[in-house]
Structures are given as C-alpha cells and as structure tokens.
C-alpha cells in the first residue's frame, strides 16, 4: 500500500453558448473559415474598447448558482498581461480578486460501488478565450486564426478535494451533467467547449501540508484525465520514493505514448501584472437580479433525485443514475407520463437501452425508441401480451425499424401464447416425446422440468408465457403419474 496520499484539483474552462463574443458583436459559430469572425475589437486593433455581453454574465451566474457558489456583489475584470501570438491585445481580460462567484460545492452522486462525495468550488469567473494557433508541419512558421479570440469562457476552479483519478473523473462527469441541465454550453470537448486542466500532488499519508503540484494540460477527454492522473501518480511516487523531488511545472498528456511530458514554458516568468481593466466598469449585482436568475434554474440532479425517489418509488441508486443526465431523466419522465410503470421503465432504461447506447456509442435519443414506445413496451410486458424475453427481441426490432411495439408484435406474430388449451396440447406432446426427462422428474429430480419447459417454449417458437407453460407442464406430469 502506498505511503502517499494523492491530492487532485481541477480547472475547467467552459465555453458559454452565446450568439456573440464576450466583448464584441462577432458571431461565435464553430468551424467558420479562418479570421472570418473577427472585428477591430477581437483583433485587438489599436483604439478599440470592450463592452460586456450581458448574456455571458447571466449564463455565468446560472452556473455559479447551480454550483452553490456565493456571488460577488460588485465584480470587476482585470487584465492578465502576457505575450503570445494568439492573444491579440497582449493581455487577457479575466477576473482576479473580485471574481463572479466563489465558495461553491458540487455534490457527486454515488456510483455502483462508490459512495457519494462533495467537491468544493474555489471560484468561477468570466474571461475571454484566445485565438487558435495552427502549427504548420515541417515549416518554421505558425498560422494564427482569431475566430476564437473573445469567445466567452467561464473558468471553474475546484478545491483540491479529490483523492483518486476516479474521483476526478466522476467529478468532471457530474459537473458536465449539471452544466447540461443549465443549457449554457454545448459542453462538447471535441469542439473545445469544455476543457480541463488538472493539478496533482502527493503528500505523505496523514500529512496536512500539500506537496508540490504539477499541472497537466492537453486533456481532451475525461478518460485522458483519469489516465494522465494515474500516470502522474506513478511518476511522482517514483520520484519521491527514490529520494527525489517533484518540481512545480506544467506537463502535457501524450495520449499515444500514455505519458505526461514537461511543457516548454509559455512565459519564462509568471508575472502576469494583474490590474483592474480600466476600459470596463464594475458590475454590481442586486440580490433581486440574482434571485431572478435563480428562479430560471431548472430542477438540478440532487433535487430531482429526491423527487424521483418520492414520486416514483425508485431506489436512490436508480434515481441518482437517471437524474445524472438531463436527457436520461427527461426521457424517463416522458415514458412514465405515457403510461410506463416507473420501476420497470427505469430498469429498461438502465439495462437494455443504455447497453445499446454504449454498444453503438450514441445517446439515448438516437436509439429510434421514443419514450412513448418504451412506455408501450413496458405495458405489453405488464399485461403479459409479450414475455419479458420476447420483449428484449421486440426492443431490438424497435431500435432497428423505429416502429411502435404494438404493430410490430402483430406484424412479427410475437404475441405471447396464453391460451391454456393450445399449451395443454403442446405439453402433452412434449411429455410423450421426452420419457427420460419425465421419469427423472418423477424420480424426484425437480430440475428436469426446466428442460421440458425449454422444449415447450421451442415448440411454441418462444411465444408461450413461461410461467403458464411451467404450470401446465406440472399439471400434465401430475396427471400422468
């Protein structure tokens, strides 16, 4: 067992979905041709001035409230000064000592075999994004595209409250799910709408003081975060165990090689010379305004979990799993509204539907099974029109064709055989045709009836109601005894 404790904190950059940039009226469409979404302001031409997009503050406020943060009554923007070709003004407009929000908390729900925990949010502040550098292969030049310069970002910084890569992973997932509830960002890591850096340090188990940390960048998915942290723990452990030191530095995750590597420094001295941005005024948030935004917040996972348990009688695990993702919870509720029995509906979603999602790497809404169809399926099983085994096949057919289950059942002739006369005759035939199993059963080997039920199901092409088949076989065997 390791003698070290791992301490992990996260920094997430969230691109806020707005029509225009944070300080100018340029559009924010992804994938536009290079430098086609620029103007004198976001190009940092001499003489221009920033004016804050009101929606960025509202969206930021929504996230801050959802993360249970305290809101800064009078917030200010600061200039963070450094040189880089993607930074048009030679400084980034960000926030420093008066950020939008601070001291929040994110509740991470329990997972299959891991308990729930909480991560404190250090702060969440607004800032502008930089442009994009394109490195030309085999050339001594780089290309600059400023379309992204001035896109609104919310930087969310957690406290170093995580102890394992898995906790960091779950924290990020919960954060993403919460953000998706708020509809303030598309949270798409591939488009860079959600970016994450991780800080990690080790300390002797039981120590109070934090060890020297490294910052890991270039984490393009939550899996990378988990893998990079696991690697970094091993690397730091080896350094410390062999009497060496961890050096405070920024490292890049190389997913192909599966290692973190020292990043060449952007700025040889980290002296950002923050000072209040004189081209912007302070922003004073009245508590009524904050309350008004709070009222627009949707029901968030922790509250929704509690309601699902009370209203639908779900277990805390089921309720937590379903509400973790907004679209999952919405889907569940639509199915229940369409008549689906809650517990069975929850089981179908968490079982076959999510398995299919994983298999196909798609979202639940992409499965061609509208919530109303799932509700019908649940009812068909409930009314014993189809057996639960048949229902599984039926669902597969539904996913294939997008048809509702009822017409499919008719078209495919899948109705369950519940006519005892038909089954009685079939059972007679099975008993007569399998003397060995029959005598085993009569000799006390009760298990042998399973074989006979299987034979009966085969004769009815799987359409027999298994319970009924079992009962009828028992009575036929008794009669013949």
């Amino acid at each position: 067992m390791s003698a070290f404790e791992t301490v992990i904190g996260l920094e997430v950059h969230l691109q806020l979905a707005t029509r225009t940039k944070i300080f100018c009226g340029c559009p924010t469409l992804f994938g536009s041709s290079p430098n086609s979404q620029t103007c004198p302001v976001c190009l940092g031409l001499p003489g221009v001035l920033p004016v804050l997009n009101r929606r960025t503050l509202e969206s930021g406020l929504k996230v801050a409230l959802a993360l249970n943060c305290r809101i800064q009554p009078a917030l200010k923007f600061h200039r963070k000064n450094y040189f880089y070709p993607d930074l048009p003004k030679g400084f980034q407009i960000s926030q420093y000592d008066l950020p939008l929000s601070f001291e929040g908390v994110l509740e991470v729900p329990a997972a299959a075999e891991a308990p729930a925990f909480a991560v404190r949010i250090h702060r969440a502040h607004l800032e502008e994004d930089a442009g994009k550098l394109v490195h030309k292969e085999g050339s001594r030049a780089s290309l600059v595209d400023y379309n992204r310069a001035g896109i609104p970002l919310l930087e969310i910084v957690t406290e170093p409250d995580m102890r394992t890569p898995e906790e960091a992973y779950r924290c990020l997932q919960t954060l993403k799910h919460t953000l998706q509830y708020l509809d303030v960002s598309d949270c798409d890591m591939e488009k860079g709408s959600l970016r994450c850096d991780a800080n990690i340090s080790l300390r002797p188990a039981g120590a109070k003081e934090l060890g020297v940390k490294t910052e890991i960048k270039n984490l393009n998915s939550f899996k990378h975060v988990r893998n990079a942290l696991a690697y970094e723990i091993r690397r730091q452990q080896e350094a410390l165990s062999s009497g060496g030191k961890v050096i405070q530095e920024t490292r890049l995750w190389d997913d192909v090689k599966g290692v973190t590597l020292l990043m060449r420094s952007k700025e040889f001295a980290h002296d950002y010379r923050y000072f209040p941005e004189p081209d912007l005024v302070p922003f004073v948030l009245q508590s009524e305004e904050i309350q008004a935004v709070r009222r627009t917040l949707p029901e968030l996972p922790p509250a929704r979990t509690r309601r699902f348990m009370e209203q639908y009688g779900l277990s805390s695990y089921d309720a937590g799993r379903l509400t973790s993702e907004k679209q999952l919870a919405d889907y569940f509720e639509s199915a229940v509204q369409a008549g689906g029995v809650p517990k069975a509906t929850a089981n179908w979603i968490q079982g076959d539907l999510l398995a299919a999602c994983r298999e196909r790497n798609v979202e639940i809404l992409d499965l061609k099974v509208p919530a109303a169809h799932l509700a019908q399926l649940v009812l068909l099983v409930e009314h014993q029109t189809v057996s639960s085994r048949m229902a599984k096949d039926l669902l597969k057919a539904m996913m294939k064709t997008g048809e509702a289950p009822e017409p499919l059942v008719k078209r495919l002739g899948m109705s369950q055989v519940t006519d005892s006369g038909t089954l009685q005759a079939a059972a007679q035939t099975v008993v007569q045709g399998n003397p060995k199993a029959v005598s085993d059963y009569r000799a006390g080997k009760r298990q042998a009836i399973k074989f006979l039920v299987g034979q009966l199901m085969a004769r009815t092409k799987g359409q027999a109601n298994p319970e009924l088949a079992h009962r009828i076989l028992e009575s036929v065997l008794k009669e013949g005894a």
């Binding site: 940092g44 030679g90 081209d279």
Partner: protein
C-alpha cells in the same frame, strides 16, 4: 497665394459663410490645403494629408443639407492617435508605421456626419508620451510663435496647426495636459472634457482611465460647437457617460457677474515663471472686472499629482502598448524565432520615451511592487479627486495657469525626463480627478510667447467653462492675435 480671408475664420464663422453660399466647401478646403502646402514644411504640424480625399468629401457636401450639418464644410485636423479610415494612424511611432485602421473612431464618424472635412493627421509625441511634441518618429513640430521652440505636447501638431491656420479646428487627446498645455503654448483654445463625456472608441490608448479626446479651436464658441458634435454616449465605449449633451453654445455670451471662482494657492507658488504670474494677475483682474468673485482655496494634494500620475499612467500604458507585437499590424522586425521577433520589433519600434514608460509601468505592476506603487497611486488619486470635490462645494470653477512656463526651446528637456514631467504639473490633477478643464489664451511674454489660463469645473460642468471662458474672451483680444512667423 493662400486665401487668408477663409483660413483665418473660426469654424462657426466659416460654416456660416459656407451655409450662406459665400464660398463653397471645396473652396474652403482648398484654401486650407494650399496653406498647409505653404507652411507645413516649416512647422511639421501635420504628418499626413490626403488632398484628394478631402476635396472629394468637400465636393460631396454640395449635395448635403447645409442647415442640418453643424460643421458644414469645416476643414479639420485629427491627431494621429485617433483612428480615421483612409489615413495612417501611426501615433508618431515607428512601430505603427503603415498602420491604416479599417474603422473610424466614434469622434471622427461624428465629425464627418456633421459635415466636417478631415484634411490630415497631426503630429504628436510618440503615443502621446511627452509635453513637447519632440518624440515623434516624424521629427518635432515647431511652435508657430517661435520656430526654435516646442509647441507643447503631446497634441503639439494639433495646436500648432490651429495657431497657424492650417485647419479650422483640430482634435487632440489629453491624458495629463496634452490638449491644454500645447493650447496654452500656441495661443489656441483647448478643452479636456469630463472623463466619459467624449467616446474614446478609436483613440489609441495611452492611459485608459485618464485619456479624453477634446477639441483645439480658435475660440471658445468653436470649442462649444465641437463638443455638441462629438460628446455623448457611445455604445462602443463602456466608460462613456449616459448624460445628456446640452446645447453648449447656449452658455456663451452670458453675464458672469457674481460667479464664485476658486484660486488654489498651490498653483501660485515657487517655480511659476514671473511672466506667467504677471499674465495670470492681469487675467484675474479682467475677470474681476466682469463681476467674478474670487475665493482663496486649497487643493492640498497637488504636489502628489505628478508622482501619482506617472505610476497610474505608465502602468496602464505598459499594458496598452503590449498589443504592438508585430503580429497583426504595424512594423515587424523579422526573425525565425518568436521571442526574438517580439523583442526586436518592440525594441526597434518604440522610441526612448516609450521604452522608459513601458519599463516604469511594467515595474510598478510587477510582482512585489503592485501594492507599493500602483495600489498606492490609486488611493492617492482618491485624495486628489476629493480635493476638487471639496472646492466645488463652494466654487463654480477654479482658475489656474495652464503651464508653469511658456514654450521652451527644442531639445531643452529632452534628456531630463523628470523636468519634462514637471511641465504638466498644473494639468495632471484634472485628469486624475476626471473633471473638465479649458485652456484659453491670456497673454504673451515680452518675447511674444503665448500664455494660457486654465479654467476647471466639476464633472460634466463644461457649460460653466464655456460660460466663463467666452465672457473672458469677449473682454480680451488675445485669441485674435496671429503668429508673425507664419504670416504670409
């Protein structure tokens, strides 16, 4: 021969002539262009002129509704740090040589919409860093009253141009006195408006929390007229004030009897040139004759204004000048290495004063020094602002000399930055406090060098300045004198 009958008029008189059809906008523009051609080589007040653009615009005005354009056909000059599409806005710096802004500053848009014709860009101290107009990469501007002397700065080109009738009026910018001090040294009227009164959008920033654009004009009425056009809320400038723009000209030519004006003792002590002191005494006597009541007041933190200013202004400037990195515009010193490209572009592109201020400004913001310098300066700024607020509880305005001395000789202070900085000693507090101030001609030295008087009002009190200034102007004729050196 330049047509002086047109170029000697102030803008309000010229536009009236044009409106009455006494001459055409093209004739007025051509008269000024001729005069620029004849005199600018001596003065170097303008660093770029576009005759064709100016003539085209003047001609196009024939189709406009003259009555609705307050600056109908008025030829104007714009300081080279105010973006004007079609002109090089180089700020007097090599690093911006060739920079042609693809947009108009809000003030330029407003001027053109009001019927003004931009003739060209005025010379200036590099990035407005200076009080002498000597640090421009285009060479110094000379004072029309004495070609061996500086015109003041940093809006020295604008002031010299108006004094020499190379334009009907000019725009300048004022961060610590850059409109008022050259106005005083060239005998023109210069206004530093209240912070936020005029949009800064398109003004290439020196110190964002202090900069204001303002007019340099031949008389007070023109100052009021130009402010009616350029002042007012601008959605492109977060710091522009949502305060209604009055009809400033309504404040002109009204009696000033009974108005209480403060005379701060800190502005009338050692270091003041005796001839400036004498002229000020005469000016105060003239105002008294008009019924002004003077009150001895104190602005106790005056001596801290210059150090406060040089911390706050250079800190902001060091950050504002970071964008000049050779990537998107301006001059680049090529290199295969990015860091070298940055360092050499900036090292070769900036002049000595710009470098000095970048070093000082970067230093006062750097780790370990922020609280001792920048944070401290912002607090002292509060004390300076409160000094003014207190005086304005009992006075409608304050009167001071604009500069401690008349124009000095070229090169005299160029290598002595501190003494250069101290020539702004009477103008700097006004920027720190955010209030408006007007400099207007109030006399000449025996050698014929102009002297200016500064009137200061509370925030958004420009009307008071015009009220008081026009009354003084009506009673004197200093503003009517023309420099002999450029008489044709």
């Amino acid at each position: 021969m330049p047509d002086e009958s047109l170029t000697s008029h102030p803008a309000h008189a010229l536009t009236n002539l044009l409106r009455r059809g006494k001459c055409s906008p093209l004739q007025a523009t051509t008269a000024y262009l001729d005069r620029i051609q004849a005199l600018n080589p001596k003065l170097q007040a303008l660093i770029s002129v576009d005759e064709e653009r100016a003539k085209n615009r003047a001609s196009a005005l024939l189709r406009a509704d003259a009555e609705r354009l307050p600056l109908y056909g008025v030829p104007v000059i714009v300081k080279a740090n105010i973006c004007t599409e079609g002109f090089e806005a180089n700020c007097g710096s090599n690093i911006l040589s060739g920079f042609h802004p693809p947009y108009h500053a809000t003030v330029v848009e407003r001027l053109e919409r009001a019927g003004a014709v931009v003739l060209g860009m005025a010379n200036m101290d590099e990035f407005a860093f200076g009080s002498s107009c000597e640090t421009s990469c285009k060479g110094p501007t000379r004072n029309p009253w004495d070609l061996d002397r500086i015109p003041g700065g940093s809006s020295g080109g604008s002031a010299a141009a108006i004094a020499a009738d190379l334009g009907a009026a000019a725009l300048g910018s004022d961060t610590g006195g850059s409109i008022r001090q050259p106005a005083a040294m060239c005998s023109v009227v210069g206004l530093k408006p209240t912070y936020g009164r005029v949009s800064r959008y398109g003004l290439i920033a020196f110190a964002s929390s202090l900069d204001q654009i303002g007019p340099l004009t031949k008389d007070v009425e023109d100052s009021a007229l130009f402010m009616e056009v350029i002042a007012g809320l601008d959605s492109h400038d977060s710091t522009s004030a949502d305060v209604k723009v009055p009809t400033y000209r309504a404040a002109l030519r009204r009696p000033i009897g009974g108005m209480t004006v403060g005379v701060p003792k800190e502005y009338f002590i050692g270091g003041l040139d005796p001839e400036v002191e004498r002229a000020m005494k005469q000016a105060l006597a003239a105002l008294k004759g008009l019924g002004v009541q003077f009150k001895d007041v104190s602005l106790p933190h005056t001596e801290y204004a210059v150090p406060t200013y040089y911390i706050a202004a250079t800190a902001e400037a060091s950050s504002n000048l970071a964008r000049f990195d050779g990537v998107r515009y301006g001059r680049r010193v090529p290199s295969g290495n990015l860091q070298e490209m940055f360092e050499n572009t900036r090292g070769e592109g900036f002049g000595a004063e710009a470098k000095r201020r970048i070093i000082l400004g970067t230093y006062v913001l750097s780790r370990g020094y922020y609280d001792a310098y920048y944070a401290k300066a912002l607090k002292v700024r509060t004390l300076i602002r409160q000094d003014f607020e207190k005086v304005f509880e009992t006075c409608r305005a304050i009167v001071t000399p604009t500069a401690p001395t008349p124009a000095f000789r070229l090169g005299e202070k160029l290598d002595d930055p501190l003494s250069m900085y101290l020539s702004d000693i009477f103008t700097i507090s006004v920027n720190l406090a955010g209030v408006p101030a007007l400099s207007l001609p109030c006399g000449f030295t025996q050698a014929g060098l102009p002297i200016g008087m500064q009137l200061i009002a509370p925030a958004f009190g420009e009307e008071t300045l015009f009220h008081l200034g026009s009354a003084y102007e009506q009673a004197t004729d200093w503003h009517l004198r023309k420099p002999a050196a450029v008489a044709s």
